[in-house]
């Protein structure tokens, strides 16, 4: 077999590794916002797992991730929210939102046995998810934008306490 045939086979093999649905899902998220570098504060409200999942392209992989807001309109992120999860084996994990309202958990920190239950707490205020999360680790995959027939709306905690901005401006 000549080198051209090997090249064709190699290209075909690589092309077969691509998942166009996943690629489109990643592309649909659009570019980074000007002035925000990729990192813990970027892309609030987007489904983190689209990129930080098993199929990449981002690193690290997240087992749980999302954004919590001060109100349902998503205008103001809520810093310092405790996000608690308990899985079907009873294992629990808690983390805290950063100043973009983002939180993320890596598999080495917590790999849940699905389904899981979630709650958010800020000071004396808390809210618990009414249903289970069965397999989706990205909040925004289901809590996408405004409430609709196929979205539960943004994750928010209606607190009267004045939220700290946590260093973000």
């Amino acid at each position: 077999m000549n080198w051209l045939a090997w090249l064709s086979l190699s290209l075909a093999a690589f092309a077969g590794c691509s998942d166009p649905v996943h690629d489109q899902r990643v592309a649909a998220l659009g570019p980074e916002v000007d002035g925000v570098v990729p990192g813990p504060l970027h892309r609030p409200g987007q489904p983190c797992g689209a990129c930080h999942g098993d199929e990449g392209p981002a690193d690290p992989i997240f087992s749980l991730s999302g954004t919590v807001y001060r109100a349902s309109d998503g205008e103001q992120p809520l810093f310092g929210v405790t996000v608690r999860a308990i899985d079907s084996s009873g294992a629990q994990y808690a983390t805290t939102t950063n100043c973009a309202g983002n939180f993320y958990v890596t598999p080495d920190q917590f790999t849940p046995s699905w389904p899981i239950w979630l709650k958010v707490e800020y000071g004396a205020t808390s809210a618990e998810m009414r249903s289970v999360a069965s397999r989706e680790g990205s909040c925004a995959a289901c809590h996408d934008g405004d409430p609709s027939p196929h979205s539960a709306g943004r994750v928010f905690l209606d607190t009267t306490e004045v939220p700290d901005r946590g260093g973000c401006e």
């Binding site: 308990i86 009873g90 009414r130 069965s134 289901c142 609709s148 027939p149 196929h150 539960a152």
Partner: protein, 173 residues
């Protein structure tokens, strides 16, 4: 969109009901469990299978409509108003569309052989299921579905089905 879905659902239910009155084993006639008391069965499916990340999604062949997932009426939102009668009907129609030949045989046999019906074999994770086991034999939720297949919904079993976190000993949630 909603009106169209409701019309389709109604047409399907009528067709299934008519099939239910007819002889089985013809090429085009299938039996199906009754829509009576399906609301109780639907409540189990909604709770265990009907989240937005599973069968409460328009991307699934088996669609479960209701408060925890996909809404039938474009004015309703996930997590908002309770599941409506129209949504229960739409879920009923969707459930009947899964592996209908096996469902017909199970119905004809008053529920016997239920483990072969795809909804239960996947729900119990006896067959490959991305969501894993969502029903276990001997639990109220499973009993609820079996009773529906057998022709008389065990409403109390359906009502007894719960899905809540169980913290480990010495821990609280």
């Amino acid at each position: 969109m909603m009106a169209c879905l409701q019309r389709s659902a109604a047409a399907w239910v009528v067709a299934v009901a008519l099939c239910g009155c007819a002889r089985q084993n013809s090429d085009s006639e299938l039996l199906a469990p009754s829509a009576k008391d399906f609301a109780a069965v639907s409540s189990v499916l909604e709770r265990r299978c009907g989240g937005l990340d599973c069968h409460g999604s328009p991307a699934r062949n088996l669609r479960i409509y209701g408060i925890y997932g996909l809404r039938l009426d474009g004015r309703d939102v996930t997590g908002g108003a309770d599941t409506t009668d129209a949504e229960v009907t739409a879920t009923y129609v969707s459930v009947l569309s899964v592996d209908p030949e096996t469902l017909s045989r199970v119905t004809a046999n008053q529920g016997a052989g239920e483990e072969r019906w795809l909804v239960l074999s996947k729900g119990r994770n006896r067959e490959a299921h991305v969501g894993g086991a969502r029903l276990s034999v001997g639990t109220p939720g499973d009993d609820c579905l079996i009773s529906w297949l057998a022709g008389k919904v065990d409403v109390s079993a359906c009502a007894d089905d719960t899905l809540s976190p169980v913290p480990r000993e010495g821990e609280v949630w």
